[in-house]
Amino acid sequence: MINESMKKIGSYRTMGLTGKTKTKVKLFLWISPFLMLTFVFYYLPLFGWSFAFVDYIPGVPLLKQEFVGMKYFEIIFSGGNDFFEVIRNTLALSFLGVAVAPIPVIFAIALTEIRIPILSRFIQTVASIPNFISWILVYAVFFALFSSGDGLINKVLLDTHLIRKPLEPLISDTYAWYIQLLIGLWKGTGWGAIIYIAAIVGIDQELYNAAKVDGAGRFRKIWHITIPGIVPTFFVLLLLSISNILSNGFEQYYVFQNPMNIGKLEVFDTYIYRMGIANAEYSFSTAMGIFKSVISIALLLFANFLSRVVRKESII
């Protein structure tokens, strides 16, 4: 009797996959197409970094390309091309962006000081609309406002004789950086404030009550309670933007570029596009892309290190 049942158990084991293994295999089968997609669109391009080390000619298989080592990296840094001007523009615009990082904070604090809920909700909704339109639409809006022909602002100022010649901010070379800064603020402040508003709402109300009892006025409360409550969030966002210092974003600068202001507005991302796709300088452009990725990762690790040192917490 016992031998019979032992045989049965033995035969189940030899019958093949147990239930658990079958489930594991099925699960893996379900997820593998998506893992393939992830590999193809995110990891496979990394093999393209090899283009930077050969004189890439399209159509020729990779192994038959002529290996040139660091030639393109040397070309980048040797000058005689626009690389340094492009880096100057990129860093200038990034630093300006960091310099105005407090503005969404101020906006958020000002918004929470409004006592009429309908008004503050209205302002929050309307102010964040520009964040959700494409940069092409932003360009369309600023074109309608500032075109020297019949832009709204120029029309009004000329008609009221406040100026005699039309303003031409969109083709200005001298003020290009500041104009892009203002445009960026117009687009980003409303939505950028939302995170800070969430942080402010999360501050313990008791602190405010206690401060009021102690006789603190509005600005003292803001300075001693609200701002310290926001500083952690602000710091994290600041460090993250440091790691993105070489990536201003292709779209904004591409749409606002024109022959007049391109000396100031050609940033790294647009330069990589122009050299790589428009001019088909594949190896040169790939080398610049590698440079950008490596620096960005290094900056991210550095920002993470800073965060650990100063705040005893990592970002990633």
Partner: protein, 295 residues
Amino acid sequence: MEKIKNALFQIVNTGMLLLFSLSCIYPFYYIIINSMSNPVEIANGVYFFPKDITWAAYQQLSHIPNLYHSVFVSVARTIVGTVLTVLSCAFVGYLVTKKLMPCRKWIYRFIIFTMFFNSGLIPWYMVMKELHLKNNFLLYVLPTMISAFFIILIKTYIESLPTSLEESAEVDGADTFTIFAKIIFPLSMPIVACIAVFTAVNQWNSWADNLYLVSDSRLDTLQLLLYRNLQSNMASVLQSSSNSNAAASLSSSVQVTATSIKHAMTVITVLPILVVYPLMQKYFVKGIMLGAVKG
């Protein structure tokens, strides 16, 4: 004295914020009213209400080559892209929560890691080319199917659902996909809605992939067509053709300027956003809150 200082602060503060808000909404209003006003009046200045309403500019839009195509392309990529992205991110987010998934930790890291590096434009371009995705509608909707950020959001949400639901379904013999489709996905609607609105707006606004990879103008999105319109003198070509049409047609003696055509095109491109965002705002805010907490 306190009351006066308080009132003054409120007035100044509210005033400045309202002024900023006005700057965010008035330009759109200006463009809308100018797109439907007679250009003669526009020269005098249309600032508050449309004057001498005419739809001529919109009628001229139909003469822009590829306009209907580009609207179709933009709508198609928004719908198809959103559906594909939402479904695939939700399913992957669910699969990653299954304890029995082999190498679960490594799979999760494999996906998350994609948020931290960027292979660069040219390598990505080459991959798309090799996959025959140049001049192919799929290039608009395939790459966005896997978004680590959305997958994290969904995974976190699903993990907060009670496990008894899944367990009882498994006992009843339901397989993985059925459980996902009939139980998990419907329950995840709050977070799915957030992801859907973000994806939809992104798809409607996308044009860079169009620029990089498409030379066939039948695949152009509305955004890129608008940009080319704004830049070129295409509009003045239309203007002269519209004048000759006007001469031939019975009723219209209305001229259409290049600018009012630009305005009309801007309106049709921006209107979906202006309508959708205020209605859906709570989904956007919720999405970013969850993302910020998790991130």
